[in-house]
Subunit: 134 residues, 2 copies
Amino acid sequence: MPGGIQLTRQREAVLMVLKEAEKHLTAQEVYDRVRQRLPGTAYGTVYNALAYLQSVGLVQAFNIGNGPALYDRRIDRHDHLRCLQCGEVIDYSLSGLDQVVERVARETGYQINRARLLFEGLCPKCQKSKEVRP
Amino acid sequence: MPGGIQLTRQREAVLMVLKEAEKHLTAQEVYDRVRQRLPGTAYGTVYNALAYLQSVGLVQAFNIGNGPALYDRRIDRHDHLRCLQCGEVIDYSLSGLDQVVERVARETGYQINRARLLFEGLCPKCQKSKEVRP
DNA sequence: CTTGATTTTGTATCAAGTCTAAATTCATAA
DNA sequence: TTATGAATTTAGACTTGATACAAAATCAAG
Ligand SMILES: [Mn+2]
Ligand SMILES: [Mn+2]
Ligand SMILES: [Zn+2]
Ligand SMILES: [Zn+2]
């Protein structure tokens, strides 16, 4: 059956780890968790699996600053906010992005396939702790 | 005079290289060009200079995918488009971003300091070369 | 000048990610 | 079932971008 998705035990473990993750994970974090359910899994295999799962659309990844890539439990198109104080990275879906993308395409001649939006600032919690010492 | 900007010869060279650059440069590219006008400059000094110049607002940098950071000749707020075919990265200023940022802040409670927007797709040239072999 | 702070240099080190060849697993079918 | 070849995993070396460090050089005050 050509075109099917090959889910080996290792790839499945990676997928499960991501599905059960409470946040965005680095490859290293995925590796650590995968080895809890599938000890002996090689570091490179996690990278291979993550690349494969991305290529078949089962996993999304993105980069922030010059840190390691973050792998996403979510698979739908969405954006991210990062707190510059505590480093928290949360999901956010900007509505009405289609019109924006269309405008960018019209004004630049580019055919836009993807938009990566990252908003940086202070999370509500860190805003409060700043109030104390302004 | 405290608060002034310290421009050493090395930092000045880095700044000049960026000002005269025809595109976004990696640290390695900055290093190569700096050494043409200031041979003997150390690799680390270029990194130090780039970090310092960023800290005083004379240089901007951003990251794309997991590649090296790109240093920008432009210093005003702007966005980027990348061609997934040829790798070209161009500048683009999305107008009306303020309202978007305001909406994000309102909906999430974050205080937004910065928005990094990256649009990915095909540049006009690469669209044409795709037409030939669809 | 003298002194202390800042910066640069040269080198070592680090982290994230990629590559490779051998071993293993897997799919297919004789 | 067993044979065969393709795909995947493993283990470890390697690459790249970036950072850390101590000694030397430069710079700014006094
Ligand atoms: Mn996400
Ligand atoms: Mn730019
Ligand atoms: Zn925070
Ligand atoms: Zn192109």
